[in-house]
């Protein structure tokens, strides 16, 4: 099967680089699957998991927003943070989730930092789900 070069880069360095058969990402408008020879495309990503398919195996990478650039034979994912399941700190994500939930409770009352807490909660849930291969 035809493959394409895929790079996942963050400010802290490259997280994934290699030939893949298919990339599926969660964009702000919904899920988007990319196969080789896709037309050039730039789109923002939502907080979610990227699925990378190669030899019938699927690898997950948790990203916290970013940009995906597709150029025929190459897919570049520029993410603020990206983690493969093994590098996710589950305890930390769980703590972040609880903290965000508490903040959301408070924020409902005085309507402060609601968005921020919501994003933090989304990131934490995303990390937990990816680490458990749930998606």
């Amino acid at each position: 099967m035809k493959t394409m070069q895929t790079n996942v880069v963050t400010p802290d360095g490259s997280v994934f680089s290699g030939q893949v058969e298919m990339v599926s990402a969660k964009t702000q408008a919904g899920d988007l699957g990319i196969l080789p020879d896709h037309i050039p495309l730039v789109t923002p990503l939502a907080i979610g998991a990227i699925r990378i398919k190669l030899n019938n195996k699927v690898e997950l990478i948790a990203v916290s927003g970013g940009i995906m650039e597709v150029r025929g034979d190459e897919v570049n994912i520029l993410a603020e943070s990206a983690e493969v399941p093994t590098s996710i700190d589950v305890a930390r994500a769980r703590a972040a989730k609880e903290r965000a939930e508490r903040r959301l409770e408070q924020a409902k009352k005085d309507n402060l930092d609601f968005n921020r807490a919501e994003l933090a909660l989304k990131r934490a849930i995303n990390r937990l789900e990816v680490s458990q291969n749930k998606i």
Binding site: N7, V9, P11, S14, V42, P44, N76, L78, E80
Partner: protein
Amino acid sequence: MASLKDIKTRIGSTKKTKQITKAMEMVSAAKLNKAQGKAEAFQPYIEKIREVVVSIASGSDGVSHPMLEARDEIKKTAYIVITADKGLCGAYNSGLLRETLKLINKRHSSPDEYGIIVMGKVGRDFFKKRNMPIFQEIIGVADQPEYSDIKNIASTTVQMFEDGLFDEVYVHFNHFISAMSFQVTETKLLPLTDFDEVVESGEAKEAAPKSDYIYEPDAETILNQLLPHYAETLIFGALLDGKASEFGARMSAMRSATDNADNMIGELTLKYNRARQAAITQEINEIVSGASAQN
């Protein structure tokens, strides 16, 4: 003249100091290595973002964005100053702070015209002592910082610019040249006017074949998201650069301290041997004269 014992004590303490400076030199060398690796890992990311922004900005529909436009009236300027948390690194902090202070004094007549965002303890104490307006500060940044460590301060700064609190943002940091040298550098962070030059010059034409992108949902939305993020990432890049210079500076400062200690130990040892020789000669003299007095 110092007694034998005094000289010996001094040699001992200089040796101990040398051990410490030598260890610090080696630690800094290791950290410098890591910091350089980190800065290299960061490069592809910023270049990719730049490429996408340039291709959008040079697109035929002439997209514009408030962050790309220079403002007509500059009421308030922000300076992001990146210093270290501790000294012992030669002119790393002092050189940078002196330049910054000079520039600010030249450009502004009152503290209402500028604001300072400072990273590092040395810089914070410096500006605090002079009662200069510090808007944000962050101290205790890790030696090998992660993007998430400074995300908050970076995005707040960009937000301040978007809200119109600042009309211009500059970054002051020590640019890494080699392990032995660095240069005090000022770069204009916001507005991102340097894209205009890129777009007007040939560089954009080179990128043009790649610019037939489909923008999903549209170019403007992507710019809205990408530009603030680009600015934040640039701050992180300056921090990484500054960190590499810091370790380079500390390494060479500690190396010269070690060399000085070596020289000093040499001199003191010579002095010690002379004093010892003098004492022995004197003792022989006394014995000889004592013996001859008895005959």
